[in-house]
């Protein structure tokens, strides 16, 4: 269908673009699955009750219930009765890697790089602003994240992820921070695959040390460049990993996130 492609028309159509025909329950379900993939929800975590979940997500209780039924059917949550009962995350082998690998293998390089560009735009701008705004106390907090790192603490997210989130907040922009959080569950969750590689992880923690030095020296340009370097390294690792896993096969049955299935070869 021919369309007026003037910038205004494009913006206008983005406003009135279809919200998608996915049911609300499916969207609740997808939220929780991406929370699992991002490592925000871990094996054994208790989910809020149906009514809490419904009020927090702004949906009807019935919708929340429907989503939980579906998650249960997929084996991602388990509900127990009784005093200490509730709905808990259950991950086979306590491992979210397989969800992430499925997702990675369903992505083309073009899509992956595009996501990375978006993430880098936000994260590096935040770093640039943070370098102009951070005080000594902020630097101490960031240093603690890097120093308290190794084993144990890292279960709920990578040291680098925590560091970059804290850095995003230091931009003093609520919008940038929210966007960073949103992208972090998206791109950052894929990067978790790279951070599971100890060599990559320690090299990137070192890179964060250099970013912190730039913040502390109030050098916005250098902070910006180093965050860009981090994202580039991450993308290279992910693409190399795709290649290691062979030509990515699209597995419609296992595509657990809302991403459209794409051919990657």
């Amino acid at each position: 269908m021919p369309r007026d492609s003037s910038p205004y028309q494009r913006q206008l159509s983005s406003v009135f673009a279809s919200l998608g025909d996915e049911g609300r329950a499916k969207r609740v379900e997808d939220r929780i699955v991406s929370g699992i993939a991002a490592g925000i929800l871990l094996d054994g975590d208790r989910l809020p009750s149906e009514s809490e979940l419904a009020s927090s997500l702004g949906v009807a209780t019935m919708t929340a219930r429907e989503a939980l039924v579906s998650l249960r059917a997929r084996g991602l949550v388990k509900t127990t009765r009784g005093r200490d009962g509730g709905t808990f995350i259950t991950l086979p082998q306590g491992d979210r890697t397989s969800i992430l690998r499925d997702r990675l293998s369903a992505m083309s390089r073009v899509e992956l790089r595009d996501l990375a560009i978006h993430y880098a735009a936000i994260a590096s701008t935040a770093a640039e602003l943070a370098a102009g705004a951070a005080d000594e106390h902020d630097v101490v907090i960031l240093r603690q994240i890097l120093d308290n790192s190794p084993e144990g603490n890292g279960a709920r997210g990578s040291v680098v992820g925590d560091f970059l989130l804290e850095l995003a907040a230091l931009s003093q922009s609520a919008r940038l921070t929210r966007e960073h959080v949103r992208l972090h569950t998206d791109f950052g969750s894929l990067l978790a695959l790279a951070h599971a590689d100890p060599e990559f992880d320690s090299r990137m923690i070192e890179l964060c040390g250099a970013i912190l030095d730039a913040i502390s020296a109030m050098d916005p340009a250098r902070a910006r460049k180093l965050v860009g370097d981090y994202v580039r390294e991450g993308v290279v690792w992910l693409i190399a990993d795709q290649a290691r896993a062979g030509i990515p096969a699209v597995k419609p049955e296992k595509t657990k996130l809302e991403r459209p299935v794409r051919r990657t070869s």
Binding site: D45, R46, E52, S56, A133, R156, Q172, A174, V181
Partner: protein, 245 residues
């Protein structure tokens, strides 16, 4: 105008009064929380605490004096029975309960935050921010917290979140009355709200003002069109009003 001393009268006093009265209300409120602990043998468990704190929070959030975006009680480590960490916090116009999925995530979430650690360490009220609060409000926020003590021990903090834009709406005219370029600073010399269009909330204006008695101090940013400001303290609060000198 400000002779490098306290902003003792007029609009400056209004600005100080605004924060002093909010802290005082918080102290009074924290006293009522203390009684939840002191009125029983042994520490309460989280559910019992929530049931007793919730009406107090509702009442506090309903006050007409100042729109608060959230408020609640955050337990010190091991202050409650049966759980190391606990946060009873409600926010928003619908007073939505802030959800913490696991005990560990609650601990990780708040145990190193300034609004939690400072009142516990000093036993005094504290003003944190302005900062982007990605844990609770998701907005640019100022958090006021005071210690809650029971039988001589600090059992946690009582606190309230105020959006920086609320402060801007309420105090901008007061600042303009002081000087067309007057700026309210936090303890680290960061701008909370400024009458000067150049100065964004969050910008560092004057470093180290709290440790200085100088009549004027150099500004951190070189491109403002002025090099020095006179800093007037807001009473004993970790706040000051800066005016180009």
């Amino acid at each position: 105008m400000n002779q490098g001393k306290t902003t003792g009268n007029g609009a400056g006093a209004d600005v100080s009064y605004f924060f002093e009265s909010l802290l005082q209300d918080l102290h009074e409120w924290a006293g009522r929380m203390s009684r939840v602990f002191e009125s029983r043998e042994g520490a309460p468990g989280p559910q019992e605490l929530d049931a007793q704190i919730h009406p107090l929070v509702d009442e506090f959030l309903d006050r007409k004096a100042l729109p608060l975006v959230g408020a609640g009680f955050v337990a010190a480590k091991d202050a409650l029975a049966g759980t190391p960490w606990h946060m009873a916090w409600w926010q928003g116009s619908t007073k939505e309960r802030l959800l913490m999925l696991t005990v560990e995530s609650a601990g990780e979430t708040y145990s190193r935050r300034e609004w939690f650690t400072v009142p516990l360490e000093t036993g005094e009220g504290h003003i944190t921010g302005p900062y982007v609060d990605f844990l609770c409000t998701d907005e640019y926020t100022l958090t006021l917290t005071v210690p809650v003590t029971a039988n001589g021990t600090i059992v946690g903090v009582a606190g309230a979140d105020v959006l920086v834009e609320t402060i801007e709406l309420l105090l901008m005219d007061r600042l303009k009355d002081i000087d067309p370029r007057a700026t309210l600073l936090n303890g680290s010399g960061r701008v909370i709200v400024s009458a000067d269009p150049q100065l964004a909330a969050g910008a560092l204006l004057v470093r180290g003002w709290q440790g200085s008695d100088a009549a004027s101090l150099p500004v951190a940013d070189k491109d403002l069109g002025f090099d020095k400001v006179a800093v007037g303290r807001c009473g004993t609060l970790p706040l000051a009003i800066a005016v180009p000198a």
